[in-house]
């Protein structure tokens, strides 16, 4: 399996997709959002996790789509599914504690793994209103682990997000708004939290006790110091384990020939 591709053979989206796929363990119940996470999960299913159970928020349970769906409500999600129903089912399953892993995205993330997908700027006087929460906080509240896939820009990796859409490790206790560990707030629903952020620069994890993010691996070509520079907060780079493993050639073949041949989510690297 040490068939790693050379840097010129893959793109950043390939790297992210493979890194995400490696977060999945076999037999897990995985909650997927639209886009790159779908490709990553299907890649895991085709490689080391053939028995993972895929749940889409709109209500398809344990589906095996033959083409990448364009949204979780897509008719493609139902191909080979164990059950097609609705959102009440999907969110009940999540709240009941049946979900091991969720893949999510975000516009901003802070040092505690809090994510914002709602608004840029002040909520009451927004610079830009975004899509809103969707199921991001719900999956993140209930899954044992969540993985965020994000574009890495300094303005997106902040000390505190302007609006917490999705709960990280330290969250706000209302009405005061003081930060507390999510363990204190979630009671019986506390099962874990964000376990990784996979950005376009590296892979980040969290210290469960302090709730703070640290750098785990750097994407090939990036150094820890460079990545630290790309965060507004003081990133812990003392635990770096080296480089993010590149895609294998087998994974690249699966992505581009089987899973996303039409480059809907993952562009092919132009040769020569």
């Amino acid at each position: 399996m040490n068939d790693y591709a050379l840097p010129e053979e893959y793109g950043l989206a390939d790297l992210l997709c493979c890194a995400a796929a490696r977060e999945v363990q076999d037999n897990e119940v995985v909650f997927a959002g639209t886009g790159l996470p779908m490709v990553a999960i299907m890649l895991a299913q085709e490689t080391h996790a053939p028995n993972l159970k895929l749940i889409f928020e709109a209500g398809t349970l344990d589906g095996r789509p033959p083409e990448i769906p364009t949204s979780v409500g897509d008719a493609r999600c139902e191909m080979g599914a164990s059950r097609a129903s609705g959102l009440y089912d999907a969110f009940s399953i999540a709240q009941r504690g049946c979900v091991d892993l969720g893949f999510l995205g975000g516009a901003e993330v802070d040092v505690y793994g809090n994510v914002n997908t709602t608004v840029i700027g002040d909520y009451l006087n927004p610079e830009l209103r975004l899509t809103g929460s969707g199921g991001n906080p719900d999956i993140n509240s209930f899954a044992r682990r969540t993985v965020f896939i994000m574009v890495h820009e300094k303005r997106r990796f902040v000390e505190n997000v302007s609006y917490i859409t999705s709960p990280g490790w330290l969250v706000k206790q209302w009405p005061g708004g003081d930060f507390v560990h999510r363990r204190e707030l979630y009671g019986s629903a506390y099962r874990g939290g964000p376990s990784a952020v996979i950005s376009t620069a590296g892979v980040f994890r969290f210290d469960e006790a302090s709730g703070r993010m640290y750098l785990d691996t750097c994407h090939p070509g990036k150094t820890p110091t460079e990545i630290k520079e790309m965060c507004q907060f003081d990133l812990d780079i003392s635990r770096v384990q080296g480089d993010t493993a590149p895609p294998t050639r087998a994974e690249l073949r699966l992505i581009h020939e089987v899973l996303d041949p039409d480059e809907i989510f993952i562009p092919k690297v132009k040769k020569g």
């Binding site: 639209t34 364009t70 097609a84 610079e127 906080p137 706000k172 209302w174 019986s188």
Partner: protein, 322 residues
């Protein structure tokens, strides 16, 4: 048997008055009752209060056309074809409308409570987020929490007294005047059969006081009643029905047609400004009826979207036109 429930598209839109609260079938870019949405825009409806489990193009069209005063939901966009709701974003930025944010599961549980006749639901989702920030209770700030159709509180926080499960958030039931559904089949007496995911349709229909069902086809009631366990919404929960083929366009419908991604992309690209929206509406909505809309879309486009009946979607490869 009983009085016919059949109405026209125009009548469907007329049932929805200025100031009505409204919800829809479907999910983001799937099974949205677009033909009715277009007709509401043509009839220049005002002051609508949308309460949606999730938003989508239908939200963007109604908001862009100035029909909406209040939007309670959790998400708006066009999925792959437009990453956020530009019209809503513009109107919120200009403070031309009120947005009340809940999480997706909260919206779903609000509708489930409304459908079950319970005043609220209890959940542990989204604890610690700004969704629960008391400063962001926008309907409260606007003095609209009358306890009648709009609940007296956005949230109530409590603890579980039974199992010591910890903090809980109570979310108010969704109470809606009218649900407009877009489905594959409805019977003459109102029985609905949804194929594929039913999303939050059963709860939406039951939570609403009046339910209007627009279907690809009206079928003999007797046909649906031969397999009662495959039906989705019972007859007596449906007040009005109408047949309108391709009424979901540009959104998709399981087993019938895919999402018209190019149409949504065009809408998203052209409606960042109000002028852009008005231009788009002049081209595609005003002065049209449903048939002239379909004529304008044309056969080639619509056949390209048509679902393969074995797959229930339009395969990306193998279409004659490509």
């Amino acid at each position: 048997m009983a009085t016919s429930k059949r109405i026209t598209l125009q009548q469907a839109a007329e049932i929805i008055k200025d100031g009505s609260s409204l919800t829809f079938s479907g999910f983001t870019i799937w099974r949205r009752p677009f033909a009715v949405v277009y007709e509401l825009i043509r009839q220049r409806r005002k002051g609508l209060h949308l309460i949606e489990v999730n938003g989508g193009p239908q939200t963007e069209f109604l908001v862009g056309a100035g029909c909406v005063d209040i939007w309670e939901s959790c998400w708006v966009g066009h999925e792959l074809y437009g990453k956020y709701g530009a019209n809503l974003s513009r109107k919120v930025g200009n403070k031309e409308m009120i947005v009340e944010d809940y999480s997706h599961a909260e919206m779903m549980f609000r509708f489930a409570a409304g459908a079950a006749g319970a005043p609220y639901a209890v959940t542990q989702t989204s604890l610690g987020t700004d969704i629960h920030n008391p400063d962001y209770d926008m309907l409260g700030k606007a003095g609209k929490r009358d306890g009648n159709r709009i609940p007296q509180h956005k949230y109530v926080f409590t603890e579980d007294p039974f199992y010591g499960a910890g903090s809980q958030v109570l979310v108010p039931a969704a109470k809606v005047d009218i649900a407009v559904m877009c489905v594959q089949q409805v019977g003459e007496e109102g029985t609905v059969r949804v194929n594929g995911q039913y999303y939050s349709d059963p709860e939406a229909a039951r939570a609403a006081d009046i339910t209007i069902v627009m279907a690809e086809e009206i079928v003999p009631e007797e046909y649906l009643r031969r397999n009662a366990d495959q039906n989705t919404i019972p007859s007596f929960e449906v007040d009005y029905i109408l047949e309108c083929p391709f009424g979901a366009h540009p959104t998709g419908m399981f087993g019938r047609h895919d999402v018209d991604g190019a149409f949504l992309k065009d809408f998203y690209g052209r409606t960042r400004t109000q002028d852009g929206f008005d231009d788009f509406a002049r081209e595609w909505i005003h002065g049209h009826d449903h048939m002239s809309y379909l004529e304008k879309l044309g056969w080639s486009r619509m056949l390209g979207l048509k679902a393969n009946t074995a797959l229930n979607y339009s395969p990306r490869t193998g279409k004659g036109g490509k």
